[in-house]
């Protein structure tokens, strides 16, 4: 089947056509709809789509705005007024967002059209999108494999040319890891860089919203539109907003990149390792200097993450009590029966597991031993990065130790699934920014499976990791490869 021309474009190229009036926003939307109807029955990236509302917006949008006329897919954890917001959970199955999240309001102001909601692990808890209560999403490169998660629907939609770009959320790697496994670009902004008002909370000291795109430039364009102070989110930083496209195209001479020795762990796939080694040589050939750094507390990241993230989740998910919105159990005997059954019926297994773990680590007698100790080790992890960034401009690593795994391969053992985030979650714990971009392929079972390169930058230093990522991307062809769908 020949690839439809318009949906294959990246955002920057699509905008050139729109601004030259060679295509209309309505043409773009129609072509995208045809592509989605063609490929999404197999991939399952979308949970809901409102083409009718999108078409109305397309009629009146100003194409000269920064994202004028560009349809953007939205992870189903972000409120878009009038559209469902289910978090892929049964407990929010019938929930319709009564207002726009701040990021959606900002994207609309920049002319973007949020037209559909993408699949995810329930409440963003997972690394494979298999924890969706609706259905798993499949990897466009090999539909027997997962797209990563939790923003797996957003990643698969972009990889399949069924979205020009998408928003996701990243609490422990949930943008970067699916971007890596699906062969696209994904950005976790600095903690506090993007407003979370209107984004359903999972772990409030870790969550950030970010873009998933086909190119680094596209990610910078979406970031330009979505960042900035928001009085409705007290954690949202009141810092100047740079133009993230300004540094694209500068070379890497004098750039110092740190290579943490702790990241070369056992269990890293040999094909991933050789792709990362080659990427490092490529970065050197572009003028970057590679410096050995040490992040000695890396090995504790997963343990710290799962205590803190589940503790915060157990508190955040207490709001799902069947009173003001969401599912409510039928004919409760009393209030305890109302709560207990509402939550039993509404939540899936992984969410229940994490509520139990989080409640336990916060419970009387265990708080100091688990939660408080984890917070202290978190501080040591933060200091590791602060020391490394005294010597280097950014840190280089694999995004995921393995390429996409098979559906069902890791679901029986939660700990194995948690280890999928081993290279990403310390970035959330330290509050810094990170990007994943394509850097090669692993050949497994006759299929090509994408490999992701991660760059971690200092807090608020997104412009620099965009510059490095763009230089690498433009000197390779990895981002041009597309799955045969």
């Amino acid at each position: 089947m020949s690839r439809p021309a318009l949906p294959a474009l990246n955002i920057a190229d699509l905008q050139s056509l729109l601004r030259r009036r060679e295509v209309s926003p309505r043409n773009v939307l129609d072509a995208l709809q045809a592509r989605i109807e063609n490929v999404d029955p197999e991939i399952g990236a979308y949970l809901s789509i409102d083409f009718e509302a999108a078409a109305k917006e397309a009629e009146k949008v100003d194409v000269d705005l920064p994202l004028g006329g560009v349809p953007i897919a939205i992870k189903d954890i972000i409120n878009v007024a009038g559209q469902p917001c289910t978090c892929a959970s049964k407990i929010l199955r019938n929930y319709i967002a009564p207002y726009d999240a701040t990021v959606i309001r900002k994207l609309r102001a920049a002319g973007a059209i949020p037209f559909g909601k993408t699949n995810m692990d329930e409440f963003a808890m997972g690394s494979s999108t298999e924890n969706s209560s609706v259905r798993p999403t499949r990897n466009p490169w090999d539909p027997s494999r997962v797209p990563g998660g939790s923003s797996g629907g957003s990643a698969a939609a972009v990889a399949a040319d069924a979205a020009f770009g998408a928003l996701g959320t990243d609490t422990g790697g949930s943008i970067r890891q699916p971007a890596a496994l699906s062969g696209i670009v994904g950005v976790k902004p600095t903690y506090g860089r993007v407003s979370r008002f209107g984004v359903v909370a999972f772990a409030s000291s870790l969550d950030q919203v970010g873009p998933l795109t086909k190119t680094v430039r596209d990610a910078a364009l979406i970031m330009n539109a979505m960042v900035g102070h928001d009085p409705c989110d007290t954690t949202c930083l009141n810092e100047p907003v740079p133009d993230y496209t300004a540094a694209l195209g500068r070379d890497l001479r004098g750039m110092r990149l740190g290579l943490p020795k702790e990241y070369m762990i056992e269990g890293i796939d040999p094909q991933v390792k050789s792709a990362i080694d080659a990427a490092i040589k490529q970065l050197q050939s572009l003028g970057a200097e590679i410096v050995d750094v040490s992040l000695p507390h890396t090995d504790y990241g997963i343990a710290v993450y799962y205590f803190l993230a589940t503790a915060e989740a157990s508190a955040n998910l207490a709001r799902f009590d069947g009173v003001r919105y969401g599912h409510r159990a039928e004919n409760p005997r009393d209030l305890l029966d109302h709560y207990g059954r509402t939550r039993e019926e509404g939540f899936g297994a992984e969410v229940k597991r994490r509520i139990i773990l989080g409640t336990y680590v916060l419970s009387s007698g265990y708080y100091d031993a688990y939660y408080l100790r984890a917070q202290k080790v978190r501080e040591l992890i933060r200091q590791d990065f602060a020391r490394a960034f005294e010597k280097v401009d950014a840190i280089v690593s694999p995004t995921s130790p393995v390429p996409a795994f098979k559906l069902g391969e890791r679901t029986a053992d939660p700990l194995q699934m948690y280890l999928a985030d081993i290279f990403t979650n310390t970035g959330n714990l330290a509050g810094i920014c990170g990007i994943s971009l394509p850097c090669g392929f692993a050949k497994i079972d006759g299929k090509e499976l994408p490999i992701g390169l991660q760059l971690l930058g200092k807090a608020l230093d997104e412009a620099r990791i965009f510059q490095i990522a763009h230089a690498f991307e433009q000197s390779t062809d990895w981002h041009k490869a597309r799955p045969a769908l």
């Binding site: 903690y191 031993a369 939660p414």
Partner: protein, 96 residues
């Protein structure tokens, strides 16, 4: 750090207002005990001189004037209510 065998899933589920089936309780007991065994490595770290980090960046209280502004109408706020009447949420009986 407490012994991993201290985890009593059935008791914690009550604290969390979350009913579990017997099968879920047994499965989570096993799986979460494995997670706690893995996480026991945190005991190796000397944290005696470390301040706990609740956030990675400094987070402060943010105050604003208590000025009224337009927000959701009662109708919008009730639009997702599982049970409502007379512009009010209907809740399960709390007092006898």
């Amino acid at each position: 750090m407490a012994d991993t065998s201290d985890l009593d899933v059935a008791y914690v589920a009550k604290l969390a207002r979350l009913n579990l089936t017997g099968e879920e309780t047994r499965l989570f007991q096993k799986q979460l005990s494995d997670v706690l065994k893995y996480a026991a490595k945190l005991r190796e770290v000397d944290v005696s001189h470390v301040e706990a980090a609740a956030h990675a960046i400094p987070v402060f209280n943010v105050f604003r004037e208590d000025d009224p502004r337009d927000w959701l109408t009662a109708e919008q706020a009730l639009s997702n209510a599982p049970h409502q009447a007379n512009n009010l949420f209907i809740v399960t009986k709390v007092v006898e």
